[in-house]
Amino acid sequence: METVLTASSASEPPGDAARGLARLRELSPDILAAAVLTRSGQPIASDPAGDWQGAVAGLWAAAEATEATGAGAGPDAARVHIGTEDGEVFAVRDDAYAVVAVTRRFALASLMLADLRALLRDLDAEPQSPASSEEVSA
């Protein structure tokens, strides 16, 4: 069954975030799941659907609870990469958006982060409207 992403409902055309997410998954077969959210945590697109808002908020909260040390450390974490036996989590964010991806173990981190940052740049080029994500099957 093919999965198609929509920004808010089946009647609306998929936004750039959903298209970007679909392209990201095509480019990176290691990705098992991914989501685009606003900086404040509102989901814009996700694949598969789920409580990304709560899970990602927990991730950034845990990252922010860590203290940045060393020269140049800013107040908010911009990138999180966690590897566990069950898979890896990549999360990047800028002033407007956040992109989170779950991959298999041993995914190429540099490539994955480059893909996520590219998606962030694309999103910054064309602002998205936050909406609840929904998954439909074609």
Partner: protein, 73 residues
């Protein structure tokens, strides 16, 4: 002078063995759970699961990974 055939074979085998051992070493290192956080200025910190901060990160990551479902399905 052309190297003797067995030297050529030895060199090739040793080369491949080194590649394999380096690959296995990298894979062994990466197989350990890790958590890294980076900041806009370029600072990066790693956290062990034994620390309070690391445990919180791994717990949060488990929730995110749970959204992907079972990859074997």
């Amino acid at each position: 002078m052309t190297p003797k055939p067995y030297r050529f074979v030895l060199d090739r085998v040793a080369g491949y063995a080194e590649e394999v051992s380096a690959f296995m070493r990298r894979r062994r290192l990466r197989s350990k759970p890790f958590a890294r956080v980076a900041w806009p200025g370029g600072a990066i910190r790693s956290f062990d699961a034994e620390t309070e901060e690391g445990a919180a990160l791994f717990l949060a990551a488990a929730a995110v990974i749970g959204l992907a479902g079972d990859p074997e399905e």
